[in-house]
């Protein structure tokens, strides 16, 4: 545990010192400023435009954090041969979990910055206080930490950085199409067997379903949160995360590094 925390703390420290961190902060500020500009063109929908554009910015920035901080740093560490020094001191699972945790701290930070930014802009310029935006931070952390863990699994499998980034990006896009895909497949198999329907549902659960963390529409439409859904999504995230990190550790333990 000590090794995990030490590595996560160093991951955090090296991340906040990198030029990339400042670059992403600047990008987030530009997106928030852009959301203000876009909202000024709307007709009486200022708050909604700020939220819509701001939450989009949050997703883009957190995706960049998952790939650039979560994955690129792993590959850099390997290139510098520093990976071997670390694996000499801590078990491989501790290394992977430590790196994952460190990146998750950065995802939490950026989600908080973006969430707070959108909250205050909506309040000041849209004259609306939307506490649901705090939930956006929560869902963003769940979604992008899971995506980071999936990237860590690909790293453990020996996939190169470029392919890993593409796979993570594809997982993100496909993961957001899961509900739609499930509905289409269920529609196609309306007259099919129960096995078919079970398989379709199983695939949409086994493949990461990021739609379960997408509460943006609910926030935009001021819909109340359904606690059952919150618990279900959080439980799904926890189970999926544990499974992915356990698989990553098992794969890395068996592979030559």
């Amino acid at each position: 545990m000590r090794g995990v925390l030490t590595i996560s703390f160093v991951t955090w420290r090296e991340s906040i010192r990198s030029k990339l961190f400042a670059g992403l902060l600047l990008f987030l500020a530009v997106i928030l400023a852009f959301s203000l500009y876009i909202s000024s063109l709307s007709l009486g929908e200022v708050a909604r435009y700020i939220q819509n554009t701001g939450l989009l910015g949050l997703s883009i920035v957190c995706l960049a954090v998952a790939i650039l901080f979560g994955l690129f740093s792993l590959y850099q560490e390997k290139d510098r041969n520093e990976l071997y020094v670390l694996l000499n001191r801590v078990p491989r699972s501790s290394y992977l979990i430590g790196r994952f945790l460190g990146t998750s701290y950065i995802i939490v930070l950026f989600s908080l910055f973006a969430g707070a930014g959108v909250f205050f802009l909506t309040w000041i310029f849209g004259h609306k206080i939307v506490f649901g935006l705090l939930w956006a931070v929560y869902w963003s952390v769940l979604e992008f930490s899971l995506l980071t863990a999936i990237g860590v699994l690909f790293f453990a499998m020996g996939v190169g950085f470029t392919l890993n980034s593409l796979l993570v990006l594809c997982t993100f896009i496909l993961g957001h199409s899961m509900t739609e895909a499930m509905q289409s497949f269920i529609g196609l198999g309306r007259y099919g067997s129960k096995t078919y329907l079970f398989l379709v549902k199983a695939i949409t659960v086994v493949f990461p379903n990021f739609d379960l963390f997408d509460f943006r529409l609910a926030i935009l439409h001021d819909e109340a949160l359904v606690w059952g859904k919150v618990l279900l999504s959080s439980g799904y995230w926890l189970l999926y995360l544990v499974a992915v990190l356990a698989a990553a550790s098992a794969v890395m333990n068996r592979r030559d590094t």
Binding site: N81, V85, L86, R92
Partner: protein, 248 residues
Amino acid sequence: MAEEHIIEIQGLSKAYKSREGRIEALKDLNLEVQSGEILGLLGPNGAGKTTAVKLIMGFLSPTRGRILFQGKPLRVGDPRRRIGYLPESFRPNPNLTVSEYVRFQCALAGDDGAQRRERTMELLSFVGMDRFPKRKISDLSKGMGQRVGLAQAFAGDPDLLILDEPTSGLDPIGKGEIISSLLGMKEKGKTIFFCSHILSEVERLCDRIGILVNGGLRFIGATADFKTRWETQDLEEAFKREVLCEAS
């Protein structure tokens, strides 16, 4: 006697599959490193030195054979906390300062708060980097970076140091400083196993040498014995004859 050997390598082999077929990077390596000695593993590029080190460190799984450390078998993938390791072409994390990096390694090696700070300064002083604790690693020269690498290898006060080409790419002054540090470690009773193809430093440092050519151990013993074997006083000449003999 087994107690005198800090590490015993028994019948270690490693083969890879490649497009050209099966490549035997290491063939039936048998080697013992005695406590308190400096053993240099010499060989031309591609001889299997780094493969041997990675097998000892558990980063690669052997095709055959086993490794005993202080009489106990080492498992692939387990951390080797009692072994300090400096890999080839090592570059420490550029976003940390010198002292932060060594402190980080001391923390991973198990040192506690105050002890960690003290130990960090001790290690930096030992490798001659105590004047630059606040300097960012990205601002260091290659030689300085290598000295930081050496300091991290000493973290946790390991019983054995395994160093892969510790002086590669360094200027003569940098090399001299690293060699002095290693001799200092030997005086403290540490065992050092290192790979190199720089013969002058091997001759200066090592109690014994092992000559690895094409994955096979051709010689193990004192440097003087190796020179006598090839009837020359020049280690480089003896080494060349050994490698060329293998090639022919």
